[in-house]
Structure formats: C-alpha cells, structure tokens
C-alpha cells in the first residue's frame, strides 16, 4: 500500500505505524457526567466498518507526522490522506450575533 502523504508524496505504508480509527482524536470530555462510560467506549469500542474507514497512521520512518488516511477495508484502496493536525482543526462556525 502506498500512502499519499500530503507533504512527501507517495510513501510505502511500511514506513508508518498504524494506530486505528481516527475517532480516537475525539477524546471525551472528562468533566461530563457520563465521562466514565464515555471513556470506556472511547478506549474499547470500535465501529470496525467493512468499507470506507478513516484511520490514524504515524510516519515513524519519515517526518514523524500523524496522518488521517481514508482507506477501504474491503479492498485496501487508499482514497486520501491528510495531516491529522488539519483534520483535527475545528471547522470555523459563525457565532450567532447577540
């Protein structure tokens, strides 16, 4: 598998370490009243879809950046990759004016 690194171009997947579902970037709120079950679900439960999957890969043998790779788990086809920092950046929403 070749991963299209947004800065470095096509890189062999062997250079990367795989972590798992990109939803791991959304840590639950520790102050929420449901934090206990939220964290349990976060740590242990996965959607594990057959098909398109957004997942975290770490470019350990390269520039040591984290990528969010979109890949089809049924075919191993890689549909895209972006820097995890970009994927994590909150989308700007308009504050309702007072």
């Amino acid at each position: 598998m070749l991963i299209p690194h947004p800065l470095l171009g096509l890189r062999d997947a062997e250079e990367f370490v795989y972590l798992g579902d990109a939803s791991l970037m959304q840590r639950p709120d520790p102050d929420s009243p449901t934090a206990l079950t939220d964290f349990c679900d976060y740590v242990f439960l996965r959607d594990n879809p057959a098909g398109v999957h957004r997942e975290l890969w770490f470019h350990e043998q390269g520039d040591r950046s984290w990528l969010v790779v979109t890949r089809n788990t049924l075919t191993h086809e890689i549909l895209g990759a972006e820097l995890a920092t970009d994927a994590a950046r909150p989308t700007v929403t308009q504050e309702p004016s007072a």
Partner: protein
C-alpha cells in the same frame, strides 16, 4: 453416513460409487428454537454440543457461504494449551482434552496429531517467564517441560542456535499440543450435528435481526425470515458487522492474518516450533508442506488477503530461526479475517438483547479453542449460565476492568 473398515473395502471394490454426502442440504424451516449464525468451526461445534450434550432439538446453523470457507479452513492448524492467565488456561486445557477424544466422539478422522509444540526462548528473562508459564499450565492440569539448550538441540538440531542477535537458549515444550486437519474438524462437527438433526443451511447470509421490546425474535436472511427463540452469533472476523445489525458496537477490530505453505518435503520438522524473538511459527503437514505464519498485517481489513511487507517479515523470521528452509519454495499463501479483541481474549456471553448471544474475539488463535468454544457456547445457550471454564469471557469485562491481556499490550488489537 457411517464409516467402517468393511465399508472402505466394499467401496474400493465397487468403484467408490456408494458414498453419500456427509450432511443433508435442507430448506430452512420457518422457525427454530436455536439459530446459530456462522458455519465455522465454532458455530458447527456449538450446534453439535447443543444437540448431543444438552439434548436440544430444532437447531439451525446459517452460513453465508459454504461451511469451512472462513477461518476454520484458513488457519495454520496449531492446537495447544500453553496460556498463562487464570481466565484463559483452564479453558484451553479443557479444549485440549476435548481434542484428545474428538475423533472417537465424532467417528471422523480430523487428523488430530499430538506432535508437540516448542516455544523457544532467547534470553534469561524469557526463560524465567516461560518457567512461570509452565507452572501455570501445570496448575490447570496441562503438561509442560522446560528444555535447556542441550535437550532442545537433541530434539531439533537444525535451528540456528548461535544467531548473533537471538541465540536460542532453550524452549518450553508442551508434548500434548500439535495440529489437526482444519477442514476435517469442520466436516466432522457438521456431519455429527447433521446426524443429530441439526439443519446446516449454506448460502444463507444473515442480513438483519428482528428485535422486539429488547428481545430477539428471529433473523432476516437471504433465504427469507427465520424465527428463533435464541440466536447465537459465531461469525469470527465478521462479528462487528453482524452485531452492528443488532445495534451493538463491539470491542473488536477485524484484521487480516496470512498463512503460507511450501512445496512438499521429506519429514524434517516433527512438531510445532515458534520463534521467541520475532513472530514466526512453523509445522510440517502430513503431506510434507511446511505450514507457517507470523503477525497480522496490522491495519483494519476485511479483504481476506494481505500485503507483501508481512510476507517478507515472516520469511525473515523463518530464515533467522532455521536457515535450512531458505531453499524451499513457497507454494501458496492466503489470508483470513480475524476478530482481534481489545485484550486479545475471546468473548462468550449474553448481549444487551435478550436471546442474542455472542461468541467472538478469537483473534488469530481460535482454532485450538473450537471444541471448548462450541461446548461453552452451547452451555450458555442451553442453560443461560457460562460454562465453568469460560466465566471470564464476559462482554462487560472492559467496563469492569477484568480484561484478560496475555500480552500486556493494552487496548491495541494489532499488538496482541
């Protein structure tokens, strides 16, 4: 259909025209008492023990393809009971005992061959860990022998003992472990279950559950709706997909594991040997092929085929361990989708839905568990209580902190 020596002679003399299929090909009934989803080793064994040991009737096994098309027909056939943790080891030893009587039980040749397994160690720390493991095995009634370098060398002289990075210092030997013919196991249980009246329905994919007021009523399939008082799901690598249809998220990721077979060779490797410094295991089949494998590819997959980096990694492990296999040609390789759980241990439990039961999370090691898994799942389905050797395999253990993490790697499925 019954087998006997007389029958073999008679068929040999009459052109083998009298053999019949080993199981029927029934139409699905409108409803059953118990429906098992998944005609792999575990599903078929469950149906067999439900009918045989627990006296249940009106049972169906629904298989989306043909029986044996999943992991039960794709594994490297190693059976052993050399686990460490108390939640695991008694269960696997129970399975080992069932293997020892399996062929008599089923009157079917599953080629169970107790040729032994040797786990190699390469450091003093690893030796101490194996000594502890051996003691844990003894506590469960299993057999374990710690071999030092000289004793090991007499048994398996062909290993690379003086590998500069990973010198072989000895091994933990379980003489009763070995291999079995994987399809033979599926066929033996299928035939046994069929003879007890179980309907084995192939080409019948479960596409949904009918759930009413928190209770399962039946399953939607590609061959129509089938009602069931109880449904047991045993679909290995498809666990998350199938349970998602019942609205359940599981502590499981699906990964691809590859297996490899060389051309047939004269007998060289008598038992199973595992490398302790990398992930590599090897045995030799009765046909002479070297059967070996290593790690999962490491990323979520439902593709039933792996990629080249793992092929290379496995070959390197083999060469580091026994350079003599370097000139053997690789004949075949394939992949299977394994249900990697978050602690590397399986689940045999009820679910949040009444009447719906789950058997899954077998990772890359569920073939050896086939008899005990079937027995324990049948016990649970029949009595609503876990079998005494499977009480730790709860679905809620992740929430309560009672994980069974043999490798100690945490909630990272590709590392177990």
């Amino acid at each position: 259909m019954k087998f006997s020596a007389l029958r073999v002679v008679k068929e040999a003399l009459t052109g083998h025209k009298g053999w019949k299929p080993l199981w029927r090909n029934p139409q699905p009934q409108p409803d059953y008492d118990i429906v098992i989803v998944g005609g792999g080793g575990h599903g078929l064994a469950t149906a067999y023990y439900l009918a045989k040991t627990f006296g249940k009737a009106r049972i169906a096994v629904l298989e989306k393809g043909w029986i044996g098309s999943g992991n039960v027909g794709r594994n490297t056939t190693i059976v052993r009971s050399n686990y460490l943790l108390p939640g695991n080891q008694p269960f696997y030893e129970f399975s080992m005992k069932l293997w020892e009587g399996l062929e008599q039980e089923l009157n079917f040749n599953a080629m169970v061959s107790q040729r032994g397994i040797i786990n190699l160690f390469h450091t003093d720390a690893q030796r101490d860990a194996f000594r502890r493991r051996g003691n844990a095995m003894h506590l469960s009634g299993a057999d374990a022998v710690l071999l030092n370098r000289d004793a090991l060398r007499q048994k398996v002289p062909f290993l690379n003992y003086d590998n500069a990075r990973f010198p072989i210092k000895g091994g933990l030997w379980q003489p009763r472990a070995g291999t079995a013919r994987h399809d033979g196991v599926a066929w033996g249980y299928a035939r046994g279950a069929d003879m007890l009246g179980v309907d084995i329905i192939q080409n019948c994919e479960v596409t949904g559950f009918r759930i009413d007021a928190g209770r399962v009523r039946g399953v939607e399939t590609t061959r129509g709706y089938i009602g069931a008082a109880k449904v047991g799901v045993a679909v290995a690598g498809s666990s998350s997909r199938v349970m998602a249809m019942a609205g359940q998220r599981l502590p499981i990721e699906s990964h691809v594991l590859q297996a490899f077979v060389s051309e047939g060779l004269k007998p060289v490797i008598s038992g199973v040997i595992t490398f302790g410094a990398g992930h590599f295991y090897i045995s030799q089949s009765d046909k002479g092929g070297l059967v070996f494998g290593g790690d999962v590819d490491g990323y979520n997959s439902y593709a039933q085929r792996g990629n080249l980096p793992v092929v290379e990694d496995v070959a390197q492990g083999g060469m580091a361990l026994m350079p003599m296999i370097g000139r053997a040609r690789l004949l075949r390789s394939w992949g299977g989708i394994v249900d990697m759980s978050m602690d590397g241990s399986p689940i045999i439990d009820r679910t949040a839905i009444d009447g719906l039961y789950l058997n899954g999370g077998w990772c890359y090691g569920g073939f050896k568990a086939t008899p005990a898994s079937g027995f324990a799942f049948a016990h649970l389905l029949a009595t609503d209580r876990p079998h005494e050797t499977a009480t730790a395999y709860r679905l809620d253990r992740f929430a309560t902190g009672h994980v069974i993490d043999e490798r100690g790697t945490g909630a990272q499925p590709n590392l177990h």
